[in-house]
């Protein structure tokens, strides 16, 4: 495990992958619809950052925008730095990074793999896009090795097969193999286990963890599954309505959440140990892009909101490596939030 340390203290060098003040605006009436409103994230070598949020929180859009995959109609501002160099606004340079130094795996491997190309061909494509000097035969050999690396049995045979001939878990492994083909430094995994059976999920998580350890991979894990976050991630960033509402090492977030949204999410989780209290779902649903409330976006659903919350938007304030965007958060005092007892939603 790498030393996570205090990110805000003067670091010897900047983190490997950094997103600063990312703003993503989709085309729409009145200047457009802002899906992401100033997100800061970073992840370092060998580290796992979990990006957590409900549907519509902007967690996927953030990472797609950071990779330059949102398309010409979408406006993206801010900075996206790999090893200190800013790539946002340089689409061609960003394209060359994709698949080479930064790779992405997707939620549903059935739809994310081209159905009319063999799995082997898709992996060799990954290799040959970035290195034309590799022959098809060499690339295919590497593809077979990669499939073996991710524990796909009979890799030579499998490489010649089509995605629909693979099982769900194997497809996800194949996608991971493809993503790792050029030994990237950053891997972004967008809900990699959501479409899989629970038993397979564990295997995939194991696989990702192994890769991180062996290669010093910086892993960004986009998910809504808090269980996986607890098992795999070092740090977690929680997104709500296009903004980071809390960012902390995982232990901190789970035992001393500083934001009521985080606390509510945790309360909504069933627990296998200890007091089997009532599960408390969060009332209401997240706001749509065009219907974000004034002040703090979470205030309509927040069990401890005060009048100030509906007027003034809380800034993301950090104390040490723990940051939260809530007027009522008291990070330095290290006391828990005054959340109501079980069953106490407003």
């Amino acid at each position: 495990m790498s030393a996570v340390g205090t990110a805000s203290a003067a670091a010897a060098r900047p983190p490997l992958f950094e997103v600063r003040d990312l703003r993503v605006v989709f085309p729409g009436p009145a200047g457009g619809l802002e899906a992401v409103s100033g997100v800061d994230l970073s992840v370092d070598r060998g580290e796992v950052l979990a990006v957590v949020g409900e549907s519509g929180s902007g967690k996927s859009v953030t990472m797609l925008a950071a990779m330059g995959l949102t398309g010409p109609a979408v406006k993206v501002t801010g900075s996206v730095k790999l090893d200190g160099e800013d790539y946002l606004g340089r689409p061609e340079a960003l394209r060359r990074l994709r698949g080479k130094r930064m790779a992405m795996i997707f939620q549903d491997p059935m739809t994310a793999l081209n159905p009319v190309m063999t799995v082997g061909a898709q992996i060799t494509e990954m290799i040959r896009i970035h290195d034309r000097s590799v022959s098809q035969r060499q690339a295919m050999k590497k593809a077979v090795d990669l499939l073996a690396l991710v524990a796909v049995p009979f890799p030579e045979r499998r490489a010649a097969q089509y995605p629909h001939e693979f099982s769900g878990g194997m497809r996800q492994r194949a996608m991971i193999a493809m993503a790792m083909a050029n030994d990237p430094e950053v891997l972004i995994a967008d809900e990699p286990t959501t479409a899989l059976d629970v038993t397979i999920q564990a295997q995939i998580i194991e696989l990702l963890d192994g890769l991180r350890r062996e290669r010093g991979l910086a892993l960004v894990l986009i998910t809504h599954d808090l269980g996986i976050v607890a098992g795999l991630a070092d740090r977690v960033a929680i997104l709500y309505a296009g903004r980071v509402v809390e960012r902390a090492p995982v232990r901190e977030a789970y035992y001393r959440p500083a934001h009521p949204y985080t606390a509510s999410l945790l309360k909504a989780l069933p627990s296998l140990e200890g007091d089997r209290g009532r599960l408390v779902p969060i009332d209401g649903s997240p706001p749509g892009l065009a219907a974000r409330p004034p002040g703090c976006s979470f205030h309509p659903r927040c069990p401890i909101a005060v009048p100030r919350c509906s007027v003034e938007r809380p800034a993301l304030i950090a104390v040490g490596d723990h940051a939260a965007a809530c007027h009522l958060a008291d990070l330095s005092a290290r006391t828990p939030l005054p959340m109501p007892a079980a069953g106490g939603a407003r």
């Binding site: 989709f26 729409g28 009436p29 009145a30 619809l33 899906a35 549907s55 519509g56 929180s57 902007g58 967690k59 996927s60 859009v61 797609l64 995959l69 949102t70 997707f106 939620q107 739809t111 967008d190 809900e191 986009i222 749509g288 892009l289 065009a290 219907a291």
Partner: protein, 287 residues
């Protein structure tokens, strides 16, 4: 799709929509074109200065103030003949399509509902008829029956009915299992009654869409047959016939121009309206 898809945004202010979704510009143009031709077909004898069959001026004159589309080989006004052509093309198309729909849908409904031997026989007949390229079959039938628009009409019906049989059969097959049908059967309704009162009323939309577009295609087919001499005979001012005359007097380009544009506009008109109907019945389909 991952979370990257745009969540359903409900803009606070909705632009006032006075036009329904399916009524796009092409559809409006299509309706206008068809309306134009229908009006022309009905009223043209009342307001044209020339008679389509009589000589109105000197032969082979290019377009002029007196004759907006010039005159043909016998000195007849081309524009008037073009307009009169609608009186032949439109009724023929309507009759042919109506009969084809009637025969095809009836056979298709029977095939779909009864299944078994009836289904096999009818569908084989459909397959065989569809195995012919339409124009060859139409030519063969017309040759057998003799030239003339009425025989051409019979030929065109023979060529068109199979599609409707297939459409209706597919609809009947899918509707047959619906609950209200089962309920009717359970209540003791006889087979014809179930078919007519419970299935057919819901089965018409694909047929209607296809029939609309077919109207344009039949106009085209009729003109094609006339062009090769198997449909309308001179001096009938039918568009295909006129174009074939225009081919003979090739340098007098205006002779074929009017009828050609007429056919094109009809095909486009019905095509647009058909697209609109398709959108109306199933907004999800279409490009």
């Amino acid at each position: 799709m991952t979370d990257a898809t745009l969540p359903a945004a409900t803009p606070a202010v909705r632009r006032r929509r006075t036009r329904p979704q399916w009524l796009t510009l092409p559809v409006i143009i299509g309706i206008a074109i068809i309306a134009f031709w229908v009006i022309v077909a009905v009223t043209v004898p009342l307001w044209t200065p020339y008679d389509p069959l009589m000589i109105a001026g000197r032969r082979l004159q290019p377009p002029s103030a007196a004759h907006w589309l010039g005159t043909d080989a016998l000195g007849r006004d081309v524009l008037v003949r073009t307009l009169y052509g609608a009186r032949y093309s439109l009724p023929i198309a309507v009759i042919v399509v109506a009969v084809a729909v009637a025969i095809g849908s009836a056979l298709g409904a029977i095939a779909g509902y009864l299944g078994g031997l009836a289904d096999s026989v009818i569908m084989r007949l459909v397959d065989v008829t569809l195995a012919f390229p339409p124009i060859l079959l139409a030519m063969a039938v017309t040759a057998a029956l003799g030239p003339g628009l009425d025989n051409a009409a019979i030929a065109m019906v023979a060529v068109s009915w199979p599609v409707y049989a297939r459409l209706m059969r597919a609809q009947v097959l899918s509707l047959r299992g619906r609950e209200h049908v089962e309920a009717a059967i359970a209540a003791g309704a006889s087979r014809p009654r179930v078919l007519i009162r419970h299935i057919l009323p819901l089965a018409w939309s694909p047929t209607l869409v296809n029939a609309t577009m077919d109207l344009g295609q039949i106009v085209l087919l009729a003109a094609s047959l006339s062009f090769i001499g198997l449909g309308a005979l001179p001096p009938t001012p039918e568009w295909g016939q006129m174009i074939s005359e225009g081919a003979v007097h090739f340098y007098s380009w205006w002779i074929a121009f009017g009828p050609g544009m007429a056919i094109l506009s009809m095909v486009l008109g019905f095509s647009f309206v058909g697209d609109g109907l398709r959108d109306l019945f199933d907004p999800r389909s279409g490009t």
